[in-house]
């Protein structure tokens, strides 16, 4: 079956989540949809499944226009989806889960378990999906649960299979066997749409690749025509040329020193792995990298939000490892968080309250436990004009502001303290061009005041425009530090972890491809990357 998306456009207010997205999945093809988080992949899938109605464009199945009104209709039309988070009943058996909703029954209406089992056996054999139909799902490893999900889709006679980030939860071995299954599905004439942001997998499994970025299709290619570096630079884009006017940096003393910093993610896996990095006063170090290589955890450790497993953080000569968020803040770390609505603002509170979220209990904003609301108010009025925040009133909730103005509130608050280090994560995500320029100017101004700045961005353009030095992060480590005049292809390759070139900014780096491929087992790494 042929699935075609023709010029799909979906807007949410001023945000264009999908901008004339077109792609075609041919029968028997494994088509990879590649893009960062927030590139618009999920919106697109919700359109295919009738959860969202496109503002423009059509979905075509075998050339016929298909406008599903709910997911059930898509399933009946032969489109199956394997979600990232499985939709299984844990206490049911494999067979029960597979037939759920489409149960074979005896004439009396009783579930025909034998037929259910034999159908599963047939499908298992046909596609190499080994699984015991009588096992209880909650006892199965994740990889096998995923097979149950695939079986479920096949049982419903799916001719197009959409796999949403199917490898996110799998071990390398499970990923290998998933690829075998996917190939056998394609060989049977079914179409597979494989959604991911992992470059290696795309190169390994895809027949064709469509790359999305910021809601648009950047291009369609094949593994033969490109390599991981090429894909990486497509993913992070090169569409907008950002220009930031700044003088060359005059770095001073080392303000931030990270030595052997190791941080774990929620699941306890190593996310930042013995990272070493210096940021000097008066310079901007921009961390480039594909999302999910430990950037979030690095920032959280620097701001005291996430415990440090081992290694040390030194701020202006003082050891601050293991400090609380408040201690970090008082020590002079400003933090512009990645997700401003979740971590940066209390949306339901007023602009003036949000502007003092970190100093609400300090003079002059409070005295002896009582808030000085007048001072809070005047402060807000000053910040409004100083940071060009467009708001009708400082008493209105910050949720009433546009994204750009919300970000300005965060920036205004963080830059209002005496700071030594500014940590900004995706500081311009989702902002309009004007706000982007404004935020960039503020960042450069802080640098010129002698503040050490660490920017984390998945936008290569931003990294190149802002960074005085660019640190490329891959699998929890800095794999190389290059100058801002380095060409994108080189950085792209480094981001893909497939090799840092030798001429890189004078830093004698060990080639990153010497890293073992398997980052999931840290004890197998014998030789850590080290700088200087």
């Amino acid at each position: 079956m042929r699935l075609e998306l023709a010029g799909i456009t979906k807007r949410f207010g001023s945000l264009v989540a999908n901008d004339h997205v077109s792609l075609t999945v041919e029968p028997g093809e494994i088509h990879c949809l590649l893009g960062e988080n927030g590139a618009g992949k999920s919106t697109l899938m919700n359109v295919v499944f009738g959860m969202l109605r496109p503002d423009e464009g059509e979905v075509l199945v075998d050339g016929e226009v298909f406008r599903p009104s709910d997911p059930g209709e898509a399933v009946r039309r032969g489109i199956g989806m394997v979600h990232q988070h499985f939709m299984l009943v844990p206490v049911f058996t494999v067979a029960e889960n597979v037939v759920l909703g489409f149960e074979p029954t005896h004439r009396t209406g009783v579930l025909d378990r034998r037929r259910a089992r034999s159908e599963i056996a047939r499908l298992s054999a046909e596609f190499g999906l080994e699984v015991d139909p009588d096992a209880t799902v909650e006892n199965l490893p994740v990889g096998v649960q995923q097979r149950v999900e695939i079986l479920k889709a096949l049982h419903r006679d799916a001719q197009v299979l959409i796999l949403d980030e199917p490898t996110a939860v799998l071990t390398p071995q499970e990923i290998e066997s998933l690829f075998v299954i996917v190939r056998s599905l394609a060989a049977s004439g079914r179409s597979v749409l494989f959604i991911t942001h992992k470059l290696k997998e795309v190169m390994a499994v895809a027949d064709r690749i469509t790359v999305m970025r910021l809601g648009k299709v950047v291009g369609t290619t094949t593994p033969d025509e490109t390599d991981e570096g090429g894909l990486a630079s497509m993913m992070v884009g090169r569409t907008v040329e950002l220009v930031v006017h700044k003088e060359p940096a005059t770095p001073g003393r080392p303000m931030l020193r990270l030595r052997g910093l190791t941080v774990a993610d929620e699941r306890g896996a190593v996310a930042v792995d013995g990272l070493e990095l210096d940021v000097h006063a008066g310079e901007i170090v921009a961390v480039a990298g594909v999302q999910g290589n430990g950037q979030t955890e690095l920032v959280e450790a620097l701001t005291g939000l996430r415990p440090v497993v081992s290694g040390s953080i030194e701020l202006d000569g003082a050891e601050v490892t293991g400090s609380s968020p408040e201690e970090m803040l008082r020590a002079g770390v400003a933090h512009v968080p990645e997700d401003r609505q979740r971590d940066g603002l209390v949306l339901a509170m007023s602009i003036e309250d949000n502007l003092v979220l970190d100093v609400y209990n300090r003079p002059p904003f409070a005295r002896r436990g009582s808030r000085a609301l007048g001072v809070v108010h005047t402060n807000a009025l000053e910040k409004l004009s100083a940071f060009d925040i467009r708001a009708s009133s400082v008493e209105s909730p910050v949720s009433a502001l546009s994204g750009g103005n919300q970000q300005k509130v965060v920036v205004a608050r963080e830059l209002s303290r005496e700071i030594k280090l500014l940590v900004a994560s995706q500081p311009t995500r989702g902002l309009d061009v004007g706000s982007i320029e404004y935020v960039h100017r503020q960042v450069v101004a802080e640098r010129d005041k002698g503040v050490a700045v660490l920017i984390v961005s998945s936008e290569l353009d931003e990294v190149l425009a802002l960074g005085d030095r660019i640190a490329v992060m891959f699998r929890g480590q800095i794999v190389g530090i290059v100058g801002p005049d380095t060409d994108r292809e080189t950085i792209g390759l480094m981001m893909a972890g497939s090799g840092a070139s030798a001429e890189v900014a004078g830093n004698p780096t060990r080639p990153a491809d010497a890293l073992p491929a398997d980052a999931a087992s840290p004890d197998r790494r014998t030789d850590r990357w080290s700088r200087r």
């Binding site: 970090m328 971590d343 949306l347 339901a348 979220l357 609400y360 436990g369 009708s392 008493e395 909730p397």
Partner: protein
């Protein structure tokens, strides 16, 4: 609490302003209409449970006047008894005006309503502070008992002049409740144990601790084999406000002061601000350096202290001794009062007064008309149900706009945490 439990303190602006202002007005309108709807359904219940009325309605074809008259009379009598029992009775007023005597009888209903509302307001404030911070303190009952026990102990064990003794008793009551609130707070901050479970379980611990203490020295009344505590000495009793004939006492002043303090606390204090931030967006609070675990402990301590004061107000104000199951439903009614008051101090005050009036009025209704007191409880429950489903009220009364249910949604939004 003011602007805490509510959705954003929206300041309407732009062309949709009139519409949004209407939506905000709906919060109050919905509450009033909820009370009305509950009274109407209560009337249906009265009709359905009074055989004589049902019989008359059965013969409505032959005697329509009689059926309607009887229906009106029975509903009217019931609600009239409720009103005159809880606010004032016009017939007593007439008597007082003509004779110049009986002032006490005239104000007794109002005084009783205030007495009944006092612990509800205090405990309700405690629950509301928790709700608006995303902490679900279901343990007001246990904290109330802990406060009452501490107050009683200081009452009979310490001998002081009334001017010092009474404040000390109040302080002890608050401390007892605070201690009972600290335990689940500490458990949550340290181990993540959900406060809904620990506070409910702590209720049972306190109920049984009370039963045990009532049967041993020094709490048990000497010479008694029943589970009844010693009584509060005169110096430890809350003074009456309007003479010895009316039971309204200093507890009411404590409750009003607590309302004012809570209003200041949420609007003006730094601690209240941090509570609000953690309640509305814990991750932004943590990022801004607010210690969410400290907030959790403090919320439960303050919440418990208010519940402890509720128990003390009843003990030292009207009851003077403890018995098994002390406090009855006050701990749970406090939750309803907080919800009805939308977690705002002034809202809690009015909700507490309404519930106190329904309790006192319901008792009078039972005495006068024989309609069981349970009807008052049903009406209380219906009011809260209607308030919790503003969509329903808007449908019934054809109101437009949204925003009426925001505080309840917010108050229940943290159950998953």
């Amino acid at each position: 609490m003011s602007s805490v439990g509510t959705s954003p303190r929206q300041v309407p602006h732009g062309w949709t302003a009139p519409l949004r202002r209407l939506a905000q007005a709906n919060v109050a309108v919905v509450t009033v209409l909820s009370v009305l709807s509950a009274l109407v359904l209560g009337a249906v219940l009265i009709i359905a449970t009074t055989p004589a009325v049902l019989h008359a309605i059965g013969h409505i074809g032959s005697h329509p006047g009689r059926a309607l008259g009887l229906t009106g009379a029975s509903v009217g009598d019931a609600y009239w008894a409720m009103f005159s029992g809880a606010i004032f009775s016009p017939s007593v007023l007439g008597h007082t005006v003509s004779t110049g005597h009986g002032w006490v009888a005239l104000f007794t209903p109002l005084s009783e309503t205030l007495v009944s509302a006092t612990p509800l307001v205090l405990a309700g404030l405690g629950v509301a502070i928790g709700f608006s911070t995303g902490v679900f303190n279901i343990g007001a009952q246990g904290q109330l008992i802990a406060g009452a026990l501490a107050a009683l102990y200081v009452g009979f064990e310490v001998h002081l002049p009334i001017g010092i003794h009474v404040p000390l008793v109040l302080l002890a009551g608050a401390a007892g409740g605070a201690a009972a609130g600290f335990v689940p707070g500490f458990l949550k901050a340290r181990t993540g144990a959900h406060e809904v479970i620990t506070t409910i379980m702590f209720n049972y611990v306190m109920l049984n601790l009370l039963d045990y203490l009532l049967s041993v020295s020094p709490f048990q009344q000497p010479g008694q084999s029943n589970a009844i505590s010693r009584t509060m000495p005169a110096t430890a009793r809350l003074p009456h406000l309007f003479g010895s004939g009316l039971r309204a006492n200093l507890g009411l002043v404590v409750a009003l002061a607590a309302v004012a303090a809570a209003a200041w606390f949420t609007r003006r204090s730094t601690l209240g601000f941090s509570f609000r931030v953690i309640g509305l967006n814990p991750s932004a609070g943590k990022t801004a350096g607010i210690d969410a675990r400290r907030v959790t402990v403090l919320v439960l301590v303050i919440s418990g202290a208010l519940a402890g004061l509720a128990g003390t107000a009843s003990l030292a104000g009207t009851d003077f001794f403890l018995s098994s199951g002390y406090g009855g439903n006050i701990g749970f009614d406090a939750i309803t009062v907080a919800l009805l008051g939308r977690n705002r101090p002034v809202g809690v005050l009015f909700a507490g007064l309404l519930f106190g009036a329904l309790d006192v009025g319901g008792r009078n209704m039972q005495a006068v008309t024989g309609i069981p007191l349970d009807l008052a409880s049903v009406i209380q429950a219906l009011i809260v149900m209607f308030v919790a489903t503003p969509v329903l009220v808007r449908e019934v009364f054809r109101l437009r706009g949204g925003g009426g249910g925001s505080s309840l949604q917010l108050a229940t939004g943290g159950w998953g945490g």
